[in-house]
């Protein structure tokens, strides 16, 4: 019975292993088509270098070949990956495809590969060995799924920028995924070689690469069983066709392609998305008795210490000054509100402070790190965490998983220990889970832990972003319009949350359009207009400042204009360098005066 289907079953296993090599990078959001090249290199070098089965026995020979092949695949992926990892999307796909084709042509022209005739390889692989190998690969990805490393890869897939801001070193993770892919492709190449008896460079061409990709996509790249499902499906189609008695050669590719089209259009997660995905919420969520027991603790700067210093900071986009010459100092324990009309440069300013955008002039030091030279994830490591104006959640992950990723910096790597089922990894995972649950509960989302981030309401998404930012235990928390879209009551709750966070020792900088909320919540308010600080002071001072009201509502009186932009006789400050703050505003507070401030008020405030 089993023997009858041995060939089919072996090909299902081989197809699944090859699909896993695509899965390995798809899970991190990369599209690579170079796997056929890795497999090819691995197959030919292993087949020619590994000792013959007659000398060392069949199984040891295969094992040596597998080790050799995986090493070659991994090595090739490092060599290809180092220069190409900065490429995105289609460009990476084309570059890797070019690599695979180049490998094919080079191998075709070598003597030791047998050229177009191919290379004879003994058949050693049995159906049992194939499935054992598949089981090992599937196990690897299964254990990876719920590890810190696996979550980081998924976070990169969902939103690379947000992942960086959570302290994930995206470059290293992407390369790691790529190398894993190379090793698995190498494994596939060797197993394939030791099964089909004769390998030729043409076996690993573009069509083969597309088939592997199709299998992975069909199965789904968000769950470790996907490649197996995909391969089973792909391999079964001709079997079913034979059973039904249709022999025409074109039907299989037609059906496979049609199926792929249907899946990609109507079932974007692949077949595996039909399997429900569970999220486990830790049983004990309130116990803060051993708070931080397994997590790295961060020492916040003491109240009054300098957290950030901005000196003459400016940003220019194609001649337009989004932000110019900002001097500002933020001290520990402050809650600084940043307000100003649309287009005033608020988001550009916080993007610079959080390291996403390099300044074009001036300098800034945030938590000891120098802005512009420190990569985003290092800055996150220094203790800066932020939310985004337009939610950048990891949409296909659950709320809890989003916060777990937020805790990347303060949790320990668990993947390798999870492979070995070490109890310590279980403890670390539980600690990370409890930490995440605490952060979720703090923003009041404990009940929604298992929901997909994309399914949450807008207000809940904003809160989830805050929970995720909190999970990294930041010293400086930057919130970009956290109350946007919230109603009165929600905004008041948010205000209370911010106040309580400040009481815990966090320093908070937030942009907000709800000026009333800013005035209630902040210890200091900074007003921007036309990229410059036009006012800075306590909420009371700001509320009474006519320049602020003017910035928002426009001037009360109005002078006749001389000159005309339509005729080219009026100087237009938005065109380039010029002085353009509102006439009445600049007199209030000069940019240099904005940086000086009273000792921060750290007394807690009642937000309601």
């Amino acid at each position: 019975m089993l023997l009858e289907y041995a060939t089919t079953l072996t090909f299902i296993a081989l197809g699944a292993i090859f699909a896993y090599s695509f899965y390995a990078v798809l899970i991190a959001g990369q599209l690579s088509l170079g796997q056929a090249g890795f497999a090819s290199l691995a197959a030919f070098s292993a087949a020619s270098l590994a000792p013959s089965g007659d000398d060392v026995g069949d199984v040891p020979a295969l094992l040596i070949a597998v080790v050799l092949g995986m090493a070659v695949g991994a090595l090739a992926s490092v060599v290809l990956g180092l220069p190409t990892m900065h490429l995105r999307g289609v460009f990476l796909a084309i570059a890797t495809l070019g690599f695979a084709e180049a490998v094919r042509i080079v191998l075709l022209n070598q003597e030791w590969t047998g050229g177009a005739q191919g290379l004879a390889v003994p058949r050693i692989l049995t159906v049992g060995m194939a499935w054992t190998a598949l089981a090992v690969v599937a196990y690897w990805f299964w254990r990876m799924g719920r590890s810190r490393y696996g979550r980081a890869l998924e976070a990169i897939r969902e939103d690379e920028l947000a992942a960086r801001s959570m302290g994930i070193d995206v470059g290293r993770h992407r390369l790691a995924a790529f190398v894993t892919s190379g090793a698995v492709a190498g494994l596939y190449g060797v197993l394939y070689a030791y099964y089909v008896r004769l390998i030729a460079p043409g076996d690993f061409d573009f069509v083969a690469a597309v088939e592997g990709l199709v299998t992975a996509v069909l199965g789904g790249s968000t769950m470790f069983l996907g490649p197996l499902l995909g391969s089973g499906f792909q391999t079964m189609i001709p079997e079913i066709q034979r059973a039904v008695g249709v022999e025409a050669g074109w039907i299989r590719p037609f059906l496979a392609s049609l199926l792929l089209l249907v899946v990609i259009l109507f079932l974007p997660g692949g077949l595996a998305s039909l399997i429900p995905r569970r999220t486990r919420m830790p049983q004990s969520d309130g116990g803060d008795g051993d708070r931080g027991a397994h997590l790295a603790a961060r020492r916040h700067p003491a109240a009054g210490e300098t957290v950030a210093t901005l000196a003459g900071l400016g940003k220019e986009y194609g001649g337009v000054h989004a932000v110019r010459d900002i001097d500002l100092e933020i001290r520990a324990g402050e809650v600084v509100g940043l307000i100003g009309p649309n287009g005033a440069g608020k988001t550009t300013l916080v993007n610079m402070i959080s390291g996403l955008v390099p300044p074009s002039s001036g300098s800034a030091t945030v938590l000891g790190a120098s802005i512009g030279r420190t990569p985003v994830h290092k800055l996150a490591g220094a203790g800066v965490s932020r939310t985004f104006q337009h939610s950048k959640l990891f949409n296909r992950l659950s709320a809890l998983e989003n916060v777990l990723v937020g805790g990347h910096l303060v949790s320990r790597p668990t993947f390798l220990r999870r492979l070995l089922w070490l109890p310590s990894s279980r403890r670390d995972e539980r600690a990370a889970l409890e930490h995440a649950a605490r952060c979720l509960n703090r923003v009041g989302l404990g009940d929604l832990a298992g929901n997909r981030a994309s399914s949450l309401s807008y207000g809940d998404q904003r809160r989830l972003e805050i929970a995720r930012a909190l999970a990294s235990e930041p010293s400086l928390l930057i919130l970009d319009e956290p109350a946007a879209g919230m109603n009165h009551v929600e905004a008041a709750k948010l205000s209370a949350l911010i106040t309580s966070l400040a009481a815990d020792g966090l320093t908070i900088l937030f942009i907000e359009h709800n000026v009333g909320m800013v005035l209630e919540t902040c210890t200091r308010v900074v007003v921007l207009n036309f990229g410059e600080v036009i006012a800075s002071g306590t909420p009371e001072e700001i509320a009474a400042d006519p320049a602020v009201i003017e910035a928002y509502l426009g001037t009360e009186d109005h002078e006749p204009v001389t000159g005309s932009i339509a005729e080219g006789t009026l100087d237009d400050p938005t065109g380039g360098a010029a002085q353009n703050a509102p006439a009445g505003a600049v007199t209030n507070v000069g940019p240099s005066a904005a940086g000086t401030l009273e000792p921060p008020d750290t007394t807690s405030r009642d937000a309601t």
Binding site: S457, A484, G554, H558, L570, D572, T574
Partner: protein, 252 residues
């Protein structure tokens, strides 16, 4: 009262689960200048994008020249004379100024050399640089180009979304001068602005939006004198005792 050329009843707009506009109604008389003002996030742009067909409303009814246009796509509305000057100007930076103006005449199916020449007369700065890519213009000049481009389409109603955004006060004054000229030439203007005082000075009628609802409306001059607008903007209650209740709804 004659029939308004544009009327919006109970308009609702949602982004996923977020309700950005919760039942806004307003109307514009032929030849008038109507303004919707409000702080950022009040839903002004969503309203105007729904009217111009760029967004699909979740509910409500939009009538233009007596016809229901609630579900009419943007490209069909331009043809009928409802033209938008979008937020952030949205000029086509890689195309030349001339090409940008030609795009204004897209719906005619041909070129509109006559009205483009008229625009060059009106905005000499554009004529000088007609062969340059539009991206080379300054912010204020780009706004002029965006307005000129919309005028080439010969609109009956011009929807303007934050024409003053990011512009210096002197430039804003000139933009408003152009807007008033457009209105004086008989074109109905619906103006969305954050710069409320400036917009209300120019307008006949105003509507104040807050969190997706109209909270005040009335003749622009009356609104201009009303302190409660400051409240709608800054969320600072002029009467601090009224803090818990929802802001009073209704006109003046």
């Amino acid at each position: 009262m004659s029939d308004p050329i544009l009327s919006v009843e109970d308009l609702r707009v949602s982004y996923g689960r977020v309700q950005a506009v919760r039942g806004v109604s307003f109307e514009a008389e032929q030849g008038s200048l109507v303004t919707l003002v409000g702080a950022n996030g009040a839903g002004k742009s969503s309203v105007i994008n729904a009217v111009s067909g760029m967004l699909r409303p979740a509910g409500g009814r939009i009538t233009f020249r007596g016809q229901d246009i609630t579900r009419t796509p943007a490209h069909a509305l331009v043809k009928r004379g409802l033209v938008q000057v979008p937020e952030g100007r949205q000029i086509l930076a890689t195309l030349t100024i001339e090409d940008n103006l030609q795009m204004g005449a897209w719906h005619t199916g041909g070129t509109a050399q006559k009205s483009i020449t008229a625009m060059y007369d009106r905005f000499p700065v554009l004529a000088e640089r007609r062969a340059l890519p539009a991206g080379a213009l300054s912010g204020g000049e780009q706004q002029m180009l965006a307005i000129a481009r919309a005028l080439v389409a010969e609109p009956a109603v011009m929807l303007m979304d934050e024409p003053s955004m990011g512009l210096a006060p002197k430039i804003v004054d000139e933009v408003f001068r152009v807007i008033e000229e457009i209105r004086a030439s008989g074109t109905t203007v619906v103006l969305v602005e954050q710069n409320a005082r400036r917009a209300l000075r120019a307008a006949d009628h105003g509507y104040v939006l807050q969190t997706g609802e109209v909270v005040h409306s009335g003749p622009a001059a009356d609104l201009l004198a009303d302190e409660r607008i400051v409240e709608a903007y800054l969320g600072v209650d002029t009467d601090s005792r009224r803090r818990d209740g929802p802001t009073q709804h209704g006109g003046l």
